[in-house]
Subunit: 232 residues, 2 copies
């Protein structure tokens, strides 16, 4: 029996990265990378990460937690800088989020996640690095676009050993949130273990940008979100 190849998947604990892991798991053994950077809900996301890793039977030596506390010190994002408010898109009386780049944008974060993924992949001999970036509806983030990933592929090719071939995979990049939910259900992904809320850690708030997008996704897919919401 040929051993399946190893895939490094960046797993935040959210829905997009969970479905990305489910897709990667179809033909690969998983190695899961989780990044913490002083975001508000770091502990809850870590729990989601560990539970999803457990669901897929990924052993401890193939789980890597990368603490990037310096991103919190760099600041500039509502996810790490406690002086900035998280957007509450659905809250009555709140102004609409400003057009353009969301305030939850952590500058250039995906490059850091991908580059840790590529380092690890090179050392453990993984053939691919997967990330659950979504161009369409989670975004306005410059580092979620296809052309950005094209450019990063070239960096990964040139910045690693000549014999190293690491593919950068973004399987959900073209999907809507509803399509991601449907794909997750089709593959039996543990969506009940995922965490998307930017605000709550006990129950999801249902009102932040991330909750609103997630709930619309389940609505679009015609199924009920299995996680609990505050006041729900």
């Amino acid at each position: 029996m040929v051993e399946r190849s190893l895939a490094v998947v960046a797993l935040s604990g959210g829905m997009d990265s969970c479905v990305t892991a489910a897709i990667a798991a179809q033909g690969n053994r998983l190695a899961l990378l989780h990044v913490t950077y002083g975001q508000r809900t770091a502990r809850r996301e870590r729990r989601a990460f560990e539970e999803i890793a457990g669901f897929y039977g990924v052993p401890a030596e193939r789980r890597l937690i990368a603490e990037m506390g310096y991103l919190g010190r760099i600041g500039g994002s509502s996810l790490t800088d406690r002086g900035l408010e998280v957007n509450l898109a659905g809250q009555a009386g709140m102004p609409a989020p400003p057009a353009g780049i969301p305030i939850s944008y952590v500058p250039f974060r995906n490059t850091q996640i991908l580059s840790i993924g590529v380092s690890w992949a090179e050392v453990i001999g993984a053939e691919s690095v997967w990330i659950g970036a979504v161009e369409q509806d989670s975004s306005g983030y410059p580092d979620c676009r296809r052309e950005y990933f094209e450019a990063f592929r070239r960096v990964a090719e040139l910045g690693t050993r000549p014999e190293t071939r690491i593919r950068i995979e973004t399987p959900v990049i073209g999907m809507s949130k509803a399509e991601i939910v449907r794909e997750g259900l089709r593959l039996g992904a543990p969506l009940h273990l995922t965490w998307s809320c930017y605000v709550g850690e006990e129950r999801a708030c249902g009102r932040c940008d991330s909750c609103v997008l997630r709930l619309r996704g389940f609505e679009g897919a015609g199924v009920r979100d299995p996680i609990e919401y505050a006041g729900g």
Copy 2:
């Protein structure tokens, strides 16, 4: 008086990055980034960083220490993995280092350093990120080559806000170690505060790859290295 623009410089504390900072300081205010990743001589390098920052009068809020302890857990390099021996190029009876990529190579490290630099630059409004990579003599590292930096420039352009323009500067990339020493002397760079040794923390060993390259550089420039060496 027009305020000079802000330049983020990756400053390891070694000679190449110190001379890079000296070049950047000609037309810019400096913001200094220091990365630690569990390398053997982390403490000594940190001291060199702080002393060079002090020499250039860089205030605390423009010094950023990024702890990337996960690189040590990733391993794969003699600089972080204590199971691998550092090459002692000049030591009697030691085999020559293997051809090709040096064992001190930390996979894809420059991408991580640059991406932290770009994140920070975007937040503080710096116009450039500088790194003291040297193609010719410190290398065989895939992520020290010009074409690698060309590819990274494209990632920085596409992965940041549309209005952000951050130049990636590699002013010593084409220099030999002797040219770097001469350029440092010409600009009054504090070479006496730098640290290059991969092994020692009290006195430089004079025998590891990094010491040997440094000493050859001073020899080529016809001047005496101002730091102390073990047994010297």
